[in-house]
Subunit: 769 residues, 2 copies
């Protein structure tokens, strides 16, 4: 595969030329999503070559029975799988009765894919010669998933015969006889209950096994000749898990036959289970009335509104520009924040991997992006998601032997239950609890909306504080509280003692919770009473928490003047990454697990993650010392690694290094650094890319309730700009080598900090600083 086959472009992702080797990668890169559903860039027509089919419905999953080598007590019984959903995009195309299949066509010319990120559509075009009858046709397909009516997608499929008159047959179809690539026991995931057809519409009702998500997959179609709607009735056929409508039409050389297909899903998550067909018809009524073109216009408007708020421009570096827009585009395709039951899966709607939708990625990496580019309700919904799962987090902790309302949030989840199953992760990577508390703090810091804490957040914090209190134990030997047997963010260490990051978070969580208890008690006495009553919290218990927090142990090296990643880190052979033979990299592909574990190599920020979260707890000198100590041992083999390091390198004024890290995060998928893009995109790390620019280069912080900027710019760039929504005021920041410009929307004045000094912004006025 040509590693960089994607053309550089400011607003589009473009592939030119047909290469069977890139089909699966492009299926990922050109994926579409609208927050409610997603679709890999699979072909509508038959393709008999290698392909990875994927249609996904947000929140619809399957609890696949866990399969492991050796069962450990307490393992979750299932591992939730992102489900491939019934296919609604399929259109069989026959030219003079011969199937169009790019894998068998004798010549495929002018093949081109374009994902237009500005307007939110995907277009594929080519000229193909059929292998048997030799007919040559030009095909242009445009597809999008509507942001306005998020249960529907639309396809405009054009065929134009170039060398002869032909008969074109379109068979738009629905198919629920689909499988998952990822399945532990080859279970059947979908059960089809009804297939039916009426006029130009068709429906398949199916439900997922076990979880019983009922869905109606639906479609409607219309035929156009040379742009004019033909009043034809399709010939309907149906099978057990399939329904298709056949249209056959003679088309003159140079003419254009077009099929408009609308399709999608109505789901029992959002509708009454017995009214899914009715709901589907309501959707189809709306889109039929609008028609393909009007719906596409609305799509462009919707994306314009998103970009209006979230675009980042980069002048002087087209690939960097394309990279950041791709990241922002994919984040918006994945999660729009309207449904508090949804969250941000690490692969979004672009693949099956990382079977589960929510990781600590959301709290640690994604929330800043959504807070700054959306209405603050979106981030609030992400927090509320964890509040809704509190009871299950308490149950999860109980399974592991904790009590009294201690909550351990799952490492991976769909519905609040743990659905990962490696003991060293599930049972030990407990720092995720800390990220969830941090997000509550971060949300209030950014939005100023305290109401979430008395309403919901405080109960989450209490469950988390209880967990840390119980999880730590007193070490007589150290006369301190220790946390034994954990895995930190650096998953290249397992079952270590006193991971500094985890211990620090634990202490912080307890202290932060106690502060919020006081604050809620003073400011929201009714909420306080309700919560204390509900959780049976006593001052005696709080005293015990505080004892643990005060007595927490932190491994530290006098010699190096750094906190140690964990007990015993200095016993390792401390050879820096630059001394490793390149042939040994990436170590996770070249080395056995034990060798990785006893090496000093770090997968992603661990000690430095704490310096990222709590940078105001540490001096610049301390950051430098820790960065200089740990970064040289860091292999960045997690997609979440470069962004934090980029931000810190920028803070240390090491712009070359910051820029290198930025490149690594921003074009991770476009340039397929990890040689795995065909499995799907790395969605959550894309939010980290956004942070690299806004927090790293732009130096955005919230200090004492005020926006603060300390901008830097990579040498290669002429300028860059970003917008942020801060407490319902929109500020545009444009940075160039010569200075920074700020422009505030709205009506009120606002004061910010710029390089440590106060700066007044007047609405509508561009200020150069």
């Amino acid at each position: 595969m040509n590693q960089e086959y994607i053309k550089a472009d400011n607003w589009s992702i473009i592939e030119e030329g047909f290469d069977q080797e890139t089909v699966k990668s492009s299926e990922s890169l050109f994926s579409l999503g609208n927050g409610a559903m997603g679709q890999r860039a699979n072909f509508e027509e038959t393709y008999t070559g290698p392909t990875f089919q994927g249609s996904y419905i947000a929140g619809v999953y399957y609890p696949d029975k866990t399969r492991v080598g050796w069962w450990k007590n307490g393992y979750p019984e299932y591992f939730a799988k992102v489900l491939n959903a019934p296919n609604w995009i399929g259109i069989d195309v026959l030219i003079n009765n011969e199937p169009l299949d790019l894998f068998t066509c004798t010549a495929v010319k002018d093949f081109r894919r374009e994902l237009n990120m500005k307007e939110g559509w995907y277009k594929r075009s080519f000229i193909a010669t059929l292998p048997n009858n030799g007919a040559k046709v030009q095909v242009v397909i445009t597809r999008f998933l509507s942001l306005d009516i998020d249960e529907v997608g639309a396809i405009n499929y054009n065929v134009s015969p170039l060398d002869q008159d032909v008969e074109v047959t379109f068979v738009p179809f629905l198919d629920s006889g689909i499988t998952n690539e990822d399945s532990n026991w080859d279970d059947k995931f979908w059960n089809t209950t009804e297939v039916h057809s009426k006029d130009n519409r068709a429906y398949i009702q199916a439900h997922t096994m076990k979880t019983n998500f009922k869905t109606c997959t639906f479609m409607a179609s219309e035929l156009l000749l040379d742009g004019k709607i033909l009043n034809v009735e399709p010939n309907a056929k149906q099978k057990e898990t399939w329904v298709g409508h056949t249209y056959t039409q003679k088309v003159k050389q140079g003419g254009v036959i077009t099929l408009h297909k609308f399709g999608g899903y109505t789901v029992s998550r959002n509708h009454k289970a017995d009214a899914l067909v009715e709901a589907a018809n309501s959707v189809l009524d709306q889109v039929s009335q609008l028609g393909f073109n009007a719906l596409l216009e609305k799509q462009k408007e919707a994306w314009a509104a998103i970009w209006q708020m979230s675009d980042i421009t980069i002048e002087g570096d087209e690939k960097a520009q394309q990279g950041i827009r791709f990241n922002i585009f994919q984040l918006n395709q994945t999660y729009l924040g309207t449904d508090p039951k949804l969250n941000i899966g690490p692969k979004g709607f672009t693949g099956e991997k990382y079977g589960g939708s929510t990781y600590w990625d959301t709290e640690a990496y994604c929330i800043p992006f959504y807070m700054a580019t959306k209405n603050q309700n979106v981030a609030r919904n992400l927090l509320r998601y964890r509040y809704e799962h509190l009871e299950k987090a308490i149950e999860n902790a109980q399974k592991l032997g904790f009590n009294n309302g201690a909550a351990l949030y799952p490492m991976v989840t769909m519905n609040g239950e743990e659905c990962h199953n490696e003991w060293e992760i599930t049972f030990e990577e407990i720092h995720r609890n800390g990220a969830i508390a941090f997000a509550i703090y971060n949300y209030y810091r950014y939005t100023g909306d305290y109401s979430y804490i008395p309403e919901m957040g405080l109960e989450v914090l209490i469950g988390i504080a209880r967990f840390w209190h119980q999880r730590a134990n007193y070490s007589e030997a150290k006369n301190k509280y220790v946390i034994l047997g954990v895995t930190g963010p650096n998953e290249y260490e397992n079952n270590v003692n006193n991971n500094w990051y985890t211990n620090y978070l634990a202490k912080w969580c307890i202290e932060y919770t106690v502060k919020q208890l006081h604050k809620v008690k003073d400011g929201y006495p009714d909420d306080y009473e309700r919560i204390v009553g509900h959780t049976r919290l006593t001052s005696n218990e709080i005293d015990k928490w505080e004892e643990v927090a005060k007595g927490m142990y932190f491994p530290y090296s006098e010699k190096y003047g750094v906190y140690l990643q964990q007990d015993g880190f200095l016993d390792k052979e401390l050879i820096t990454v630059d001394k490793l033979d390149k042939m040994e990299r990436p170590i996770n592909q070249k080395w056995s697990w034990d060798r990785i574990l006893r090496s000093p190599y770090i997968k992603q920020a661990d000690v430095l993650q704490c310096f990222y979260f709590f940078e105001d707890h540490f001096s610049q000198e301390m950051l430098e010392k820790h960065f200089d100590f740990y970064e040289p041992f860091t292999v960045h083999e997690s997609s979440l690694s470069p962004c934090v390091h980029s931000i810190q390198a920028a803070k240390l004024d090491r712009m070359d290094q910051a820029y290198q890290f930025y490149l690594r995060t921003s074009r991770l998928d476009l340039d397929d650094y990890n040689k795995e893009v065909e499995e799907g995109l790395h969605i959550t790390s894309m939010a980290g890319t956004w942070m690299s620019i806004v927090e790293g280069f732009g130096g955005l912080r919230i200090i004492d309730d005020k926006l603060s900027f300390n901008p830097r710019i990579p040498n290669k760039w002429k300028s860059y700009s970003f917008k942020i929504n801060f407490r319902n005021r929109i500020i545009k920041v444009t940075v160039s080598a010569s200075g920074t410009k700020f422009k505030l929307d709205g009506h009120e004045q606002m004061s910010i900090r710029y390089k440590g000094k106060r700066l007044e912004l007047n609405p509508g006025e561009e200020i150069s600083a």
Copy 2:
């Protein structure tokens, strides 16, 4: 299930009364083996109730593709499975054309099983009433696997009608259409290539998939009426994977119809692959000529010879007597030491679990038993097994990143390749390498046969020393060599640093290897040259090994005056086992894995294992200190735990505690302590039981090339006796409260130590001391 349904008896294992609930457990407890093949106590006739079918051929296994939750680099690709082999014992029995099936019979009276350990046979008898025709028959079946002709087993199946004349049909059959209970991917393990029948003999030729072990499963049968052979030809039938011979005979009320069936396997491990039928015929010729009764007589003689050498008598405690004989019997059924390619599987021939034949159990627990109760060649063969696998151990280490001939023996193996697949075991439980070196030392100490070391052992030691040298690393922080990321014998700790036992073994292995190098150089210069040439060993390399050994770090607590199981052990919450709620036990069933890992609880001797191996390195006072520190944290949830503790408690003169540990090890399976006997027996821990008596109570040691005894006796016992073979001289030791008697066989005088003092033994003379 009635936990203690086995009747106490000095020489037999007896079950009385038919209980469907105990069928699977009894199938384990009444298992037969002869070192070359094994057979669970499955019924010959049809049984439609719950059963666990198991016929096993020594050394015949299947490399089942590894299935784990998350693949770690370096995992072995397969997990070898002990294979259920084609069934040769089957005999369908019909009474008046109705199948005899104990699951459906209306009444089963006088059901009795007896495993006669003295003579090596298994008898089952019962009176059954058939559900439809109501016929009442008495059935007596005797079965054994011949020790003389180890490819064959024999069955004597008697039916006697009690209340009417009946027609009896016997269909002795072979069946290769069998499956494994334990299979990762539901693969087919056997491929049948030929089924045929000639006169009263039949054969199925089949081979294992992948490993391609070719086998001929064979049988011959004869019919007897009232003890007289009937000259009848059976009616042969065959299917794709089955062949049966039908005999039908009218039997008068009170008469006895008997089927003799001989059957077994010839295997390409021992014969030419194309001569298996020929080999089978040769076996059948021999046994047909002898007949059932003469073959049984030979069996009794063979077992008498085994007991002559290995029996332990206990007066005054019938259950203890039965227990120890059961242990000795099963060890001899499992491994007789004649084939250096075989070894001692933890479940022997009694179940499928622990799929793999060789663990460190062999070197750490089994070798003393075989050295003392067999010709020394048997132990030599067990050592040679590892020598034959040296190349594969070097390959295994290479896969994990080691080089220069460093050898890491597998945790579990069939053919020298690793076939276990938990990272914390496979990659980290490396102390197994030390046990293999220790066994070389132990073999020489006991037998005085140094020749093994220049011939084979030294190369094994060099591979092991190289491994330890490379596996340790220099810690600047400690200015010592450390061994990071290991799992010790206590598998309730994973990925710990500086497990004291492992570090101690590593140092000892290097030092012992260097000593042997000098000794071989001086005494066997040709071997030395050959080995140094072959291994390219230089004095510079040896210097580096010694640097590591000399600089090895040992975690130690000044406060407690004990070596620490590993770094950080004292950070745990040190609550002793007696303080645990009984409802929390066994912790491996009640607690999640992370809770077990961070607890101080010990699965089996870890620090104390080192005190067992190297007791002369430590004072009695140190043993006491360490025993008193660690035993209270030990949950003994491994079958290998109580024996070592029993020996040490005896040494500390704590006979009540020693006796309690002894009971726990000796009747582990008979009383089904772990509620899992239906899966098979714990064979390797049975050798530990033997050690508990001989080394623990008897106080046997080898000191300065001399046998030494320091006997003690549990209060409950009147006396006990054991025999040992020490350098081809047989000494019988009889211990009672009043003193100890020694009797030496043979012709030469011999001096031993008794309670530290020299004692001269004259052949044939019993000496009281």
